[in-house]
């Protein structure tokens, strides 16, 4: 619909973010998307930590605030999208960082970049079963410890007995 129109024009401050990241990580970025006033960058999973650290420390970007982590399941492609919504309290801009992984693969934990990632990653693990490598205490958070399965996967049964 009207996304096509918006895609062409990327506001200056977002251009700057893209430019800065591409300068250092030209090979890391798989996809850039600007839609509904929001910038989404899809990066290769192995670059997650260096890109995150760069985004946080770079004085012109300063994404010091991790708003949210979310996992989206695509059962047909057997893939997960891990979505990081970042924010900068200094510059008031937002960025969505995405990594795509296959089912059963793990992602590097971002707890050493933002401590706030701890509970957010635990929630993603609890709900979608994605494992975060290097997380200090990866266990269920909302569901009880003996719960079976991960409810926010698309293949999780909605009713009936297990098995």
């Amino acid at each position: 619909m009207n996304n096509e129109k918006e895609k062409i024009e990327i506001p200056e401050n977002f251009e700057k973010i893209i430019h800065k990241i591409s300068e250092f990580f030209s090979t890391a970025i798989i996809e850039k998307k600007f839609d509904r006033g929001e910038l989404t960058l899809t990066i290769k999973p192995e670059f997650l930590i260096p890109v995150a650290e760069f985004l946080k420390q770079e004085p012109e970007l300063k994404f010091d605030f991790l708003s949210d982590i979310c996992a989206v399941h695509f059962p047909k492609e057997k893939k997960f999208e891990i979505v990081y919504n970042l924010y900068s309290i200094t510059f008031h801009h937002r960025l969505r960082l995405k990594v795509k992984i296959n089912e059963g693969e793990s992602v590097t934990s971002l707890t050493r970049v933002w401590s706030g990632a701890n509970w957010l990653e635990r929630e993603v693990y609890d709900m979608s079963g994605v494992v975060f490598d290097g997380h200090p205490d990866l266990k269920r958070i909302l569901l009880s410890e003996d719960w079976k399965g991960h409810p926010l996967r698309k293949d999780y049964p909605l009713s009936g007995e297990e098995e």
Partner: protein, 370 residues
């Protein structure tokens, strides 16, 4: 304290909750204690988990509205606002100005109501029972206003995608005006009871300190973050609705203790009164609902929208696949993320201080557990 004394102390593990009056719901905190001092702690949550994010995947965008009321149930209208604005952003709907001003009035009243519940219960936990009664007296008036507006008092389901369900009833403006004219005097009354009260000061000053860097690192937001001196309010930094036309200040604290967070919330109520006063004057006549298709079917795509809810940054991340139901909804609940910093705040404090500190973060377990 001699060495011999220390040899006989032993670290003990104690559970606080899940049924404890000061936890405001079902929250359990596992405490590692050295005497009465907290060495380490671990909040254990999830007792109120209802699978709201999963429910969203099997409801239409409109049907999910009343469920958002059940997230943070003491500030239902704020949740509604975040949801409708996220869907509107997804669909590219422009909301009529009159509806925007009414939304601002309702959500700011909601903020006052939320802070009143917080102030009352916080004071009650610390031992000042009188304040609770005063706060609930004023909150009752706000709930009456809500009842007049939409018929409900707690779970409001106040807005609709594209605007409002109804225009404000006759006499609504006068009633709100009457309330906000009287209300600042009540705030002074609360302050007279607490702000210089010696017991209150001893229980709150220099208790539960969190530095600005730690707070940002842990994702703390809202009044709890502003208590640490960070001047960040989404209403100002990334204005939504018509907040960019309204004048108000962002109160901040200095050192980030319980007292600072209390002061910030008290001042926020005054600022909300200011906002409502302006919104009432600026509200134009006109439509209250944009032209919205009968069946809400957003184009494929994704959106993250967040607002400054009374407790902090409340965000909805919606992934749409072009059908009538969202493919995935993720709720960035401020209480959930804020609760994470509890361990940092209570470290090294006495067990009795935990009560004051939990209260000062202002959590609602409905939102923590979702």
């Amino acid at each position: 304290m001699g060495k011999r004394y220390l040899e006989h102390t032993k670290e003990i593990i104690m559970n606080m909750g899940p049924q404890h009056p000061s936890t405001h719901g079902v929250l359990r905190i596992k405490l590692w204690l050295d005497g009465e001092t907290v060495v380490k702690s671990e909040p254990i949550i999830g007792y109120l988990h209802r699978g709201i994010e999963k429910l969203a995947e099997f409801r239409t965008y409109t049907q999910f509205m009343p469920i958002t009321d059940r997230l943070d149930y003491v500030s239902a209208a704020s949740n509604n606002l975040a949801w409708v604005q996220a869907v509107e952003k997804l669909m590219g709907i422009e909301v009529p100005r009159r509806a925007e001003f009414i939304r601002v009035i309702i959500t700011e009243l909601m903020r006052i109501a939320n802070h009143l519940v917080w102030l009352g219960t916080q004071a009650n936990d610390i031992g000042a029972v009188t304040v609770l009664l005063y706060c609930f007296r004023e909150r009752e008036e706000i709930l009456d206003i809500f009842e007049m507006f939409c018929g409900a008092r707690l779970t409001l389901n106040a807005f609709r995608i594209g605007g409002l369900a109804h225009d404000i009833p006759p006499g609504f403006k006068e009633r709100v005006k009457d309330f906000i004219e009287r209300f600042p005097k009540y705030i002074d009354d609360y302050e007279r009871l607490l702000s210089e009260n010696r017991i209150w000061l001893q229980r709150t000053k220099n208790v539960g300190i969190i530095s600005a860097e730690d707070a940002i690192d842990l994702g703390l937001s809202g009044p709890s973050l502003r208590g640490s001196g960070v001047k960040w309010d989404i209403r100002k930094s990334n204005p939504y609705s018509v907040y960019d036309e309204l004048e108000f200040d962002i109160p901040t604290g200095e050192i980030g203790d319980v007292y600072d967070r209390y002061k910030v919330r008290i001042e926020e109520m005054r600022q909300s009164v200011r906002i409502i006063k302006q919104a009432l004057e600026m509200m134009p006549e006109g439509e209250i609902r944009a032209k919205v298709p009968r069946i809400i079917k957003p184009p494929p795509g994704e959106v993250y929208h967040s607002i400054e809810a009374p407790k902090g940054e409340l965000g909805f991340y919606i992934v749409s696949d072009g059908s009538t139901m969202p493919y995935r909804v993720k709720i960035r609940a401020p209480s959930f993320v804020n609760l994470q910093s509890l361990s940092k705040m209570i470290e090294g404090h006495l067990v009795a201080d935990i009560v004051a500190i939990i209260g000062s973060i202002d959590i609602v377990l409905g939102e923590v557990d979702r």
